[in-house]
């Protein structure tokens, strides 16, 4: 009986919350969901927006990254989506397939302040499906190398690596596993590093319009071999990011000479390492297989939900957040890099040498395959890669296993594409 009582109490509470929420949203109240750290920084940008637009009131809800995906899907299933949200560009295909997002190309065409040509082309392209635009890039994320310039110099290397061979030589020279020193940290439960290496290859990761995996291609196997060899040669410790604990301090201590990560770590390193260490580390674009290489095009876009009743107000906020001066302040607050070239030609972004490697790499980034199942596939890819790192699978076995899992995940998509009904929104 006590269980039943609890259920009634919970039901009443949920009802009370619903009533409270609906009363909260007035006619000009815009609900905006943010994910992760962006939610804190944006609170400092909103007062100016509300001064400029006194008739719009923004209600911000901050979702933690770990819970954001399911919260957004649950909101869609329960018809309680906000007016607009921040959405990672690997999640965008899912919400486009759901038909949850408002097409934006007509609004962009009528707006002077948002010029598609000013954006890095790969990032803009991740928001376009079947010719329709569903989001405006907000900030951009790519993975490149942080390195200890002093350690490289001591080992006789004056410049960061330009290609994989050179990189391998540096890793070999800087790894002393017996002393607990490694060339690089590659957490075995993070897929961005292997994905970045795989995107440098000419072979696409999925084939036949995203119907099947293409992981047995020569290109992917080359990337996987390079990745796995780094562990087999003891140039990276086979640990997850849970065990890595505090990689920033360890990088500062010289436990790792390279650190393969994203833009937010510029400010993390500055925060966690003493000011005197500033000259000992630098950033470099990701070395390619033979020369200049591509890299992952990640980041978040701003999207408006189809069911929103405040689309004009939401668009006003997107325009405000896309202004180069606002994007510059956003970078200063958080280190999130702007997706527009004009935002880069001003303020601290222009002056910061450590940001310039990102600027260079952003011209060469490549998006991941735009299928809703990508996140699931890339998770499986990393699980199998971790098995290969542990020595349980050979490169060929691992590639075949990833293909097998990807094909299983894509089964429904193949059926959808083969039975596409003209009336419903087909998947991208």
């Amino acid at each position: 009986m006590s269980l039943a009582c609890w259920r009634i109490v919970v039901a009443v509470l949920i009802y009370a919350c619903l009533v409270a929420c609906t009363q909260h949203s007035g006619p000009n109240t815009l609900t905006f969901w943010t994910i992760g750290r962006e939610g804190e920084a944006i609170t400092q940008l909103l007062p100016e927006f509300e001064r400029e637009n006194p008739n719009i009131h923004v209600v911000l809800q901050q979702l933690p990254l770990s819970a954001a995906h399911q919260k957004l899907l649950t909101a869609f299933a329960g018809d309680s989506t906000p007016d607009m949200t921040q959405l990672g560009n690997t999640w965008l295909p899912e919400f486009v397939a759901l038909g949850a997002l408002e097409p934006l190309q007509a609004r962009v065409a009528n707006t002077k302040s948002i010029q598609p040509g000013d954006y890095f082309p790969s990032i803009w392209a991740t928001n376009v499906y079947d010719g329709a635009l569903y989001g405006v890039p907000w900030y951009i994320d790519t993975r490149l190398l942080f390195y200890r310039s002093d350690m490289l110099k001591a080992a006789g290397f004056d410049a960061p690596p330009r290609d994989w061979n050179e990189w391998r030589r540096m890793l070999a020279a800087l790894s002393h596993p017996a002393r607990g020193q490694y060339g690089i940290l590659l957490p075995t439960n993070e897929y961005d590093q292997l994905t970045s290496l795989a995107l440098q290859q000419p072979d696409p990761l999925l084939r036949d319009g995203g119907r099947y995996g293409n992981f047995e291609s020569t290109g992917f196997k080359r990337a996987l071999r390079f990745y796995v060899d780094t562990f087999r040669l003891h140039q990276a410790p086979p640990i997850t990011n849970v065990e890595a604990g505090n990689p920033w301090v360890e990088f500062g201590r010289g436990v790792y000479a390279f650190y393969f990560s994203g833009p937010w770590n510029i400010s993390e390193f500055r925060k966690r390492l003493p000011a005197s260490a500033e000259g000992t580390w630098a950033t470099a674009p990701l070395p390619g297989t033979d020369g200049e290489g591509a890299a992952l095009a990640g980041g978040s876009s701003l999207v408006i939900f189809r069911t929103s009743t405040h689309k004009d107000a939401a668009w006003t906020l997107i325009e405000y957040l896309s202004r180069p001066d606002v994007q510059g302040r956003f970078y200063d607050l958080l280190g999130d890099m702007p997706p527009r070239r004009s935002s880069w030609s001003q303020g601290s972004l222009l002056r910061d040498a450590k940001a310039q490697a990102f600027r260079e790499q952003l011209e060469r980034v490549k998006p991941t395959p735009p299928v809703p199942e990508w996140e699931q596939i890339v998770n499986e890819m990393q699980l199998v890669a971790a098995q290969a790192v542990a020595g349980d699978l050979t490169i060929d076995q691992a590639a075949a296993e990833i293909d097998r899992r990807a094909d299983r995940i894509l089964e429904k998509r193949r059926w959808m594409l083969d039975h596409a009904r003209p009336t419903t929104s087909a998947p991208p």
Binding site: M1, A4, R7, I8, A11, H69, Q70, L73, F76, A77, E94, A97, L98, G99, T188, N189, I239, T240, V242, E243, G245, P372, Q376, L383, A386, Q387, A390, D392, K412, R413, W415, M416, R421, T424, S425, P427
Partner: protein, 292 residues
């Protein structure tokens, strides 16, 4: 006739609540488990396919499901006896007439139960850190090499079992303590007069008198431990190499991470079936022992 109607009216509120919040969802989940409900079906219900038992069939052919089941059974088979042994020992110590400051120790030993899983899991993650953790430092004092507690696929589950046993033994300890206090003192008195040793008193008085309580505690613990989820979710996220993925964790991933509600429901029903069989077996063993 009238009394029957009155009875139904009294039962109705509870029956309606149970029906709406328990029975209907269970039936809904059963129906879901026969379909391939996923993201595409969420977008447009016309994309839903009836697949009969294909979800179950696919699960039985999926190595990860068997691995998850193996990890869960491992957790139950080692965790339940360990946790109950800890509870029993703690209860016996607290019940002993020699014990001092009983109220303090009772509270102290019960404390882990009321702590938040997430908070203590973070503390345990530090304790079992390979490089800086206290556990390895302590091992170092007695000359044992550091163990990669959470990074080695062979050690991660034992660490989680240890954590779960520590976190939960206090609850059973309180129940067993109540069971111990219900045993009449005269029985021990009589045994002492007959010259029975402490061990024989325990073997022939405490254990038989405590048996019903032990069985109930056992069943509750087994069904609780089968639902292993929070510990690997917070401490290891299922890793390393998926060595701490439990059945429930797999279901959570399928259902709420990838939104494959069809196959997630199938996992839930398979887990229910397994728990039902295990509990039924335990009850049968108990009944046959009572008869014997």
């Amino acid at each position: 006739m009238n009394t029957q109607r009155a009875a139904w009216m009294f039962l109705a509120p509870a029956a309606i609540v149970l029906g709406v919040f328990f029975l209907l969802p269970v039936i809904g989940a059963l129906v879901l488990s026969l379909t391939d409900y996923d993201l595409y079906a969420l977008a447009d219900i016309h994309n839903l396919r009836f697949v009969a038992l294909a979800n179950y069939w696919a699960l039985l052919h999926r190595p990860l499901f068997w691995a998850a089941l193996g990890h869960t059974v491992y957790f139950v088979a080692v965790g339940v006896p360990l946790s109950m042994l800890m509870s029993l020992c703690a209860a016996l110590l607290l019940h002993s007439p020699l014990a001092r400051c009983k109220a303090f120790f009772r509270t102290a030993l019960f404390a882990p139960v009321v702590t938040t899983v997430v908070a203590v899991a973070v503390v345990w993650r530090y304790l079992f850190n390979t490089k800086y953790g206290l556990a390895n430092v302590a091992l170092g004092w007695i000359g044992i090499h550091p163990i990669d507690w959470l990074g080695d696929p062979h050690w991660a589950m034992p660490t989680i079992i240890l954590f779960a046993a520590w976190k939960n033994f206090g609850y059973n300890m309180i129940i067993l303590l109540a069971g111990l206090q219900a045993i009449p003192v005269e029985l021990y008195e009589a045994a002492r007069i007959d010259g029975a040793s402490a061990w024989r008193q325990f073997r022939h008085i405490t254990v038989p008198m405590l048996a019903p309580t032990l069985l109930m505690v056992g069943i509750l613990t087994v069904s609780g431990y089968f639902q292993l989820f929070a510990e690997p979710y917070v401490i290891t996220e299922g890793g390393p190499l998926q060595s701490t993925v439990s059945v429930l964790y797999l279901m959570y991933n399928e259902g709420f991470k990838w939104w494959n509600l069809g196959s997630a429901s199938a996992i839930a029903f398979l887990l229910f079936l397994i728990m039902f069989v295990v509990t039924a077996c335990m009850l049968r063993v108990e009944r046959s022992e009572v008869r014997a």
